[in-house]
């Protein structure tokens, strides 16, 4: 099949605008799946994706499109991408393997924050972008207004929009035609030495490490000797194939193709997403590597500890495997006084964190104790050195610190005009700095703010939804570190500092926040036989205190001959009950594992 008959494109959109549903339709139309196999969101094949109804991983599939007008069969490589902001890097990786993109806009919602963000990414990659107004089957679809927004905000022609409904299969033929006509065929020389971009990889229990590749130049066959440009290590190709949508072996992948490769890889770390695969027969110096990717930088960290200390090794193996499927996820061994051996793990955002944690518990059957997440901080020390802090408990002694710097984000909101006031208030509460405001038509506004990342990654999105009745959307990206008046707050349970509960926060809000944490702890820690003092401190100074009153009465007054056995059983039961509660000993206090997350829960609740 000639390179002119190949098209490579991604489907991109704001979250829930219907990417995966439309992908299903394209698969069905091209016979990649039969009506019988057809089910919703085919490509969301992880359990978690199905349950949550969202795409987490980009997935690639090769379609054979028999074009009615010329009778030729085109090879379409489609990549369905996630919409959530945490998985933004999956989108940029996918785009690097494509020449075009279908940009979906839910016609009932119009252009939203991630529509803009993803469109910008596609433009940066110089892709041919086809706007599609989706969900037109719905009565609430506002086709004209949405088309106008596409033109005004994204700079694409209104007339270029295709009307579609993934759900009803409307517009599928037009989309396939547009893919052939409006997206350019890949360039690249099949006769040149091999250069292939690794745009993803995953671990498969049967095939081992499956590497997703886009061939830029040259060819790939089974048995070829290849080299990873970055490491210089060489391997022999064991299998190549295409996703249809299951991995199906084939004989040849050549310039312009998208597919997969397995090789004699021993270690999962030998594959690096973004790296270039080249022929081992060509000297390494003679190859110009492909641009690759900016490594995604995890900005949100938390501690993950096995609930059962015996599972540290199992947890490490599981993290290894997950990290292979997820290059944005990082981890490092950490030792906590309170929680023992575990790992400090970095994520792109809270959803990403939740998903990794859930996969660990589910796919690897490891029970976890998670500590509250935090963003990364930079500290400047008096000796003029700087340090990056991913774990608040590991922050240097306050006397050594000259200043803290915290990560800042540039945030774009798209909100209906009636909620502007609420959103501005929210941003100001979160130490935001106004940048600009632009109207989209007369009803909606794009707002831009600079806000400390720590203020937005945890509960901000929920807050935004609630102050805009669900209509506001946001997108953000990290722009750099900025000096801030921060302090490390330690939590002491009955006089013992608990490393896993330390946080870094803005000094102005420290006391309020500390009090909230203590109140939560108070609710989580059951009464003991003695009064438990809970304190929060900055340096040596106590900034908040709470206490948990003691059990008032627990005594059997009568205990004679006949009662002894019964009484012993009762005591044994009490003891058993306590053992069953998963908890950690902090001095004489048993702290339930859930309490370590108490700091995370920043929902407002009245002090009682």
């Amino acid at each position: 099949m000639g390179i002119e008959l190949t098209r490579n494109f991604s489907i991109i959109a704001h979250i829930d605008h219907g990417k995966s549903t439309l992908a299903d339709r394209l698969l069905l139309k091209c016979g990649a799946i039969t009506e019988r196999e057809f089910h919703n969101q085919m490509l969301d094949d992880m359990d978690l994706e199905r349950e949550r109804g969202i795409t987490i991983k980009a997935s690639a599939v090769t379609l054979a499109y028999k074009r009615p007008s010329d009778g030729l069969t085109y090879e379409l490589n489609l990549i369905d991408t996630p919409g959530h902001v945490d998985f933004n890097y999956e989108v940029s990786r996918s785009l690097a393997a494509c020449e075009g993109a279908l940009l979906l806009v839910d016609a009932t919602q119009g252009v939203e924050a991630q529509t803009v963000a993803n469109a910008v990414l596609a433009f940066e990659h110089k892709l041919d972008v086809i706007p599609v107004l989706n969900k037109i089957d719905l009565a609430s679809a506002q086709i004209d207004a949405s088309a106008a927004e596409v033109e005004q905000v994204l700079g694409l022609q209104q007339e270029a929009c295709i009307l579609a409904s993934g759900k009803e299969g409307i517009g599928v033929d037009e989309i396939l035609e547009a893919v052939v006509l409006r997206i350019r065929p890949p360039q690249g020389n099949p006769d040149a030495p091999l250069r292939a971009l690794i745009f993803d990889c995953k671990y498969d229990d049967y095939k081992g490490v499956i590497t997703y590749v886009r061939i830029v130049d040259g060819r790939m066959k089974r048995g070829d000797k290849i080299r990873m440009h970055h490491s210089g290590k060489t391997f022999e190709i064991a299998e190549i194939g295409r996703f249809r949508p299951k991995p199906l072996p084939c004989d040849l992948l050549s310039a312009g193709d998208v597919g997969y490769m397995t090789a004699t890889l021993k270690d999962i770390h030998e594959v690096k997403v973004g790296d270039t695969i080249e022929s081992a027969l060509v000297p390494r110096d003679a190859v110009t590597p492909l641009p690759g990717y900016k490594e995604p930088k995890p900005m949100v960290f938390c501690g993950l500890f096995p609930a059962n200390a015996n599972s540290v090794e199992a947890l490490k193996r599981a993290l290894d495997k997950l990290a292979l499927n997820d290059s944005a996820f990082v981890y490092q061994a950490e030792n906590s006084d309170a929680l023992g051996f575990g790992f400090r793990c970095g994520f792109l955002g809270l959803l990403h964190m939740e998903i990794v944690q859930e996969r660990l518990e589910r796919e690897f059957n490891i029970e976890l104790v998670q500590t509250a997440p935090n963003v990364t901080y930079e500290v400047e020390l008096h000796d003029a050195s700087t340090a990056l802090i991913t774990s608040p408990s590991k922050a240097p002694d306050p006397s050594l610190i000259k200043s803290y710097r915290e990560p800042m984000a540039r945030v774009q909101f798209i909100v209906p005009v009636e909620y502007i006031g609420n959103v501005i208030k929210l941003c100001e509460d979160r130490r935001g700095r106004f940048l600009k405001q632009d109207y989209i038509g007369s009803k909606r506004v794009i707002l831009e703010y600079e806000i400390p990342l720590a203020e937005i990654v945890f509960d901000f999105y929920d807050k935004l939804k609630s102050v805009t009745r669900g209509y506001g959307t946001m997108d953000y990206h990290f722009i750099g570190y900025q000096k801030a008046d921060l302090a490390k707050v330690d939590v002491l349970v009955h006089g013992t500092p608990v490393d896993a509960l330390s946080t870094i926060c803005h000094r102005a809000g420290a006391e309020r926040r500390a009090r909230r944490v203590l109140i939560r702890l108070r609710r989580q820690i059951p009464k003991h036989l003695f009064v438990i003092a809970l304190q929060a401190a900055i340096g040596g100074k106590i900034i908040a205190r709470e206490s948990i009153s003691a059990t008032a009465k627990n005594v059997t007054s009568k205990c004679y001959g006949g009662d002894i056995t019964r009484k012993r059983k009762l005591l044994e039961k009490q003891k058993e009950g306590k053992k069953k509660m998963r908890s950690r000993n902090i001095g004489a206090v048993e702290v339930p594992q859930e309490a370590f997350l108490a700091v995370l829960d920043t929902r407002d609740d009245e002090d009682d």
């Binding site: 008032a552 001959g561 006949g562 002894i564 005591l571 004489a588």
Partner: protein
């Protein structure tokens, strides 16, 4: 006592408990093995009791007479038996038990069930200690508890026993009653103190499942005191009785020096005893066994087999030691490390790391002579402490 003497004491129990499961009427909080007294039921019961006693004693000591140091007749209300029944009861005891070594012979009695004639009979048959179920001195609380005697009868019971020649008298008191104010409690305590008894047992009211009182609480008809109020009452009891010269020697027991109940001390020292009658427990050669609670089940079992054990369990050395620890920690004298180790082979210090936390928190303390005990502050939550040692 060395481990060897302990082992010997286990073979030859020095205490005898006899249960009499009859009362004039049933109290609302009661979860003891007891039923309303009738002549026919008592007759059949005493027959079974005699059989069991003879069989158990013969099993225990085929070649000699059983000569305990303490006898405790509990119930129920043993004095609910008629003069004739009581006479038969003591005859049975005399027939199967050698009373020559007995130093303490206690019977439980209720005000109203102890007239002069009965008291005189008890004295004549060797009973030298009487435990009177007075419970409260206020009509309101007596009726709440479902006690049949009056406050007046409660007050008179002690002088009556004195007059009959008892010089070792205990009264039972219940505190933590629903609606009981600190003043109510103080009045009861003053009344008890005024009686000048040798011994007081003061129990916090427990709402045992299956009792009418528990059901009333479940239905919301009765509101128990809060745990804080109950604990405060308990503290008041300890302080007030102590001021009255009644020294606390166990979680719920107070005595003038030397008047601690020897029989009950034996339980808390984890020593061996023989128990006969419905629901009676025995601890012999490290085996704990308990008889059927239900009178019919008890009588039928005895009539069929001569015995009536419903459950039994042999304790491992570790279990014995742990049990001993939990029981001895109920005592105000506390536990002496070397002695405990010598006696039970269990190293308190090693087995009881939780003690350190309790010591630090003031829930346990070391006495001047170096013994470990639960502090007064710890007593209201003694079960929480003891649970760490089982």
């Amino acid at each position: 006592m060395s481990m060897l003497t302990v082992a010997k004491a286990q073979t030859f129990p020095e205490g005898l408990y006899v249960h009499v499961p009859f009362c004039a009427s049933l109290c609302r909080y009661c979860d003891f093995a007891s039923e309303i007294h009738t002549a026919a039921r008592a007759e059949r019961y005493l027959g079974a009791l005699e059989t069991e006693l003879s069989v158990r004693v013969a099993d225990l000591l085929p070649d000699e007479r059983f000569a305990p140091r303490t006898i405790y007749v509990g119930g129920g209300t043993p004095t609910a038996l008629s003069i004739a029944e009581l006479t038969r009861f003591f005859d049975i005891l005399r027939k199967h038990v050698d009373a020559s070594r007995v130093v303490e012979f206690t019977i439980e009695a209720n005000p109203g069930s102890t007239d002069e004639a009965k008291l005189e009979l008890l004295r004549r048959r060797g009973v030298n200690r009487i435990s009177l179920g007075v419970q409260s001195f206020q009509p309101r609380f007596l009726s709440l508890l479902g006690r049949v005697h009056s406050a007046e009868q409660g007050r008179e019971a002690v002088p009556l026993a004195r007059a009959a020649g008892f010089d070792n008298i205990s009264v039972d008191l219940i505190h933590g009653l629903p609606g009981q104010s600190p003043d109510d409690l103080r009045r009861d305590l003053d009344a008890v103190a005024a009686l000048q008894t040798e011994h007081v047992s003061a129990y916090g009211l427990a709402y045992e499942e299956g009792t009418p009182l528990h059901a009333a609480v479940q239905r919301g008809e009765i509101a128990p005191l809060t745990p804080e109020q109950e604990a405060a009452h308990y503290m008041t009891v300890m302080e007030t009785l102590e001021q009255a010269g009644l020294l606390q020697y166990e979680i719920s027991n107070y005595a003038r020096p030397g008047r601690e109940c020897r029989h009950n001390m034996m339980y808390w020292r984890n020593e061996a005893y023989l128990g006969v009658g419905a629901s009676a427990a025995s601890f012999i050669q490290w085996q704990r066994s308990t008889n059927h609670e239900d009178v019919d089940a008890y009588v039928e079992a005895v009539e069929a087999t001569g015995k009536a054990s419903a459950t039994s369990e042999v304790l491992t050395p570790e279990a014995r030691a742990r049990e001993a620890l939990v029981l001895e920690l109920r005592l105000r004298r506390g536990v002496e490390l070397a002695e405990f180790k010598n006696r039970w082979g269990l190293d308190f210090a090693a087995a009881c790391s939780p003690a350190h936390g309790f010591l630090r928190e003031g829930l346990m303390e070391r006495t001047e002579d170096g013994r470990y005990r639960i502090s007064r502050r710890g007593l209201p939550v003694a079960d929480g402490i003891l649970a760490e040692f089982v």
